[in-house]
């Protein structure tokens, strides 16, 4: 089986770009707090979602709707609407994280295929089995914390499809339950859908250097031209033992393009490209490269594709992340 290429779309134009560049599947979210990339100007209204689905289906591709944040108490309506609108738009599956939202979708739209979002942080066979047995999830998006061997073991045991991250931001924290951004800004990624919301991000020139700040907290200082990441708390520099370092994660991007054969051998169903907040140009470039790599793999020419993605990688540097030894 060929690896399914699952690509991000923050806008209808990016959805078309992803389809045109060879995505098998495109994932996107609605224009509100119901998805984990709730940034201003991004995402789809219900009509745009339906049009995007129609466009993808015309080319035989799929669209997944991410409804992967956690409803606030007393205010589940936007999340329920998102599920209903996704079903109405004829999406091929919804990507969910909250137990209550999963329950709603499974009850109200049993025929609508359900995937478990990485925001549910299901990192082992028992967790995945819990969601599989109760909400009939058909695919799990695995957290970016597992080695290829661990992925292979999970695939053998869980009996449902797996989707793994192949390119994009490296999330060192267990996702869906990281409260660092809300600790600093008061706005919760889990319920507002934005880690390091743009409203709280600022940049300040400081002589030859730039300071990036989140709320009242200085997260980084870098000189012009030095690679730096968008100031999420886990990509900042901190001081421990009097020494300054990227304590959690360097400005670096996950890129698994040269270990696709290993992931395929592990039994992975789908490869996920991260980056709904990135540009159309990013989508076109990354999707195109992965399309080539997967096609080459299918022809028995794995590793034949040159890795040319450094320029779009965060911080222009790349890692295999947890897939290979040494990252932890």
């Amino acid at each position: 089986m060929s690896l399914e290429l699952v690509c991000p779309a923050g806008t209808p134009a990016a959805l078309r770009a992803a389809v045109d560049a060879g995505a098998d599947t495109v994932y996107c979210g609605f224009r509100d707090c119901t998805n984990a990339r709730n940034y201003p100007g991004l995402n789809f209204d219900p009509d745009e979602m339906a049009e995007g689905v129609a466009y993808a289906h015309r080319f035989g591709r799929k669209v997944l709707a991410a409804v992967n944040t956690f409803p606030r108490a007393g205010d589940a309506r936007p999340w329920h609407d998102a599920i209903d609108n996704a079903a109405r738009a004829n999406v091929d599956a919804v990507i969910l994280a909250d137990i209550g939202v999963l329950d709603y979708a499974a009850t109200k739209h049993p025929e609508l295929r359900r995937h478990l979002s990485v925001q549910a942080s299901a990192s082992n066979e028992l967790s995945i089995a819990y969601y599989r047995d109760r909400f009939d999830i058909r695919r799990v998006v695995l957290p970016r914390v597992l080695s290829v061997e661990q992925v292979a073991a999970l695939v053998r045991r869980i009996g449902i499809e797996t989707e793994v991250f192949a390119f994009g931001s490296v999330g060192p924290m267990s996702e869906g339950r990281c409260f660092l951004s809300s600790y600093i800004t008061g706005l919760s990624p889990t319920s507002e859908g934005a880690c390091a919301p743009a409203s709280h991000v600022s940049y300040k020139e400081d002589g030859p250097e730039t300071l990036s700040r989140l709320g009242e907290v200085t997260l980084n200082r870098f000189s012009h031209g030095e690679p730096a990441a968008y100031p999420t708390p886990c990509k900042g520099r901190y001081v421990t033992h009097g020494r300054t370092s990227y304590l959690f994660e360097e400005p670096i991007a996950l890129n698994a393009i040269d270990i696709l054969a290993d992931l395929q051998a592990a039994g992975v169903t789908a490869l996920k490209i991260e980056g709904r907040q990135r540009s159309r140009a990013y989508v076109t470039e990354v999707v195109g490269s992965f399309r080539q790599a997967i096609d080459a793999l299918d022809r028995g020419q794995g590793g034949a594709v040159e890795n040319t993605l450094a320029s779009v990688a965060e911080g222009q540097r790349q890692t295999h992340g947890a897939y290979t030894k040494g990252w932890r």
Partner: protein, 223 residues
Amino acid sequence: MQRSRPLAAATLSLIPSPVLARLTVLLNRAMRRRHPRLVANFARLDPAVVHVFPSDLPHRFAIEFGGGKMDVRVLRETGAGAAPDAEIRGNLMALIDLLEGRIDGDAMFFSREIEITGSTAVIVAVRNTLDREEILISDEIAAIFGPLERPARRIALRVDTAISRARARIAAIHARLHEADAPARDLSAETDALRAEVKALKTRLAKLDVRQTRADSAATGAP
């Protein structure tokens, strides 16, 4: 497609300020006609004003959006008025890259070519909203001046590298043109006048280009 940028940048930088002001009026109309969704998408953002300063033009632009409307205006040098929520500075080429969706949201804050001040949320909203629409600035100019389109594309294919070296001369021409101010006219007359002016500019550009190509050939010894 990327080859259209130098031409578009050159064309814009050749246009004198009063003409540009009127051009902006036309651009607003064309934008509404050709990109109603873009206008609608800007209109549904939280209200904000962004000033754009192309470093190689003596003008700046104000983009006002949100609360159900969107407008682009050319600001007078000494234009007062409310402080913008955010400012974007950069050379025309970089700004056209931004407009045409080639600059990544994350990357744009670290780019040395574009400088951003003010509200990050407003800038992110602008970039994401622009990214929703496939825009080619050369097409927008062509759409206003119809007949220009084909020659413009032909020239675009040839001037790519030459034009940056011709930039100094263009700047000189621009400075001269900029001194001319035209009295107010009605819109159709204005359009005709603009067509004529741009045609003249285009011819000038083509001549520059030919001269540059010749110079290039001589330099490389090509036949």
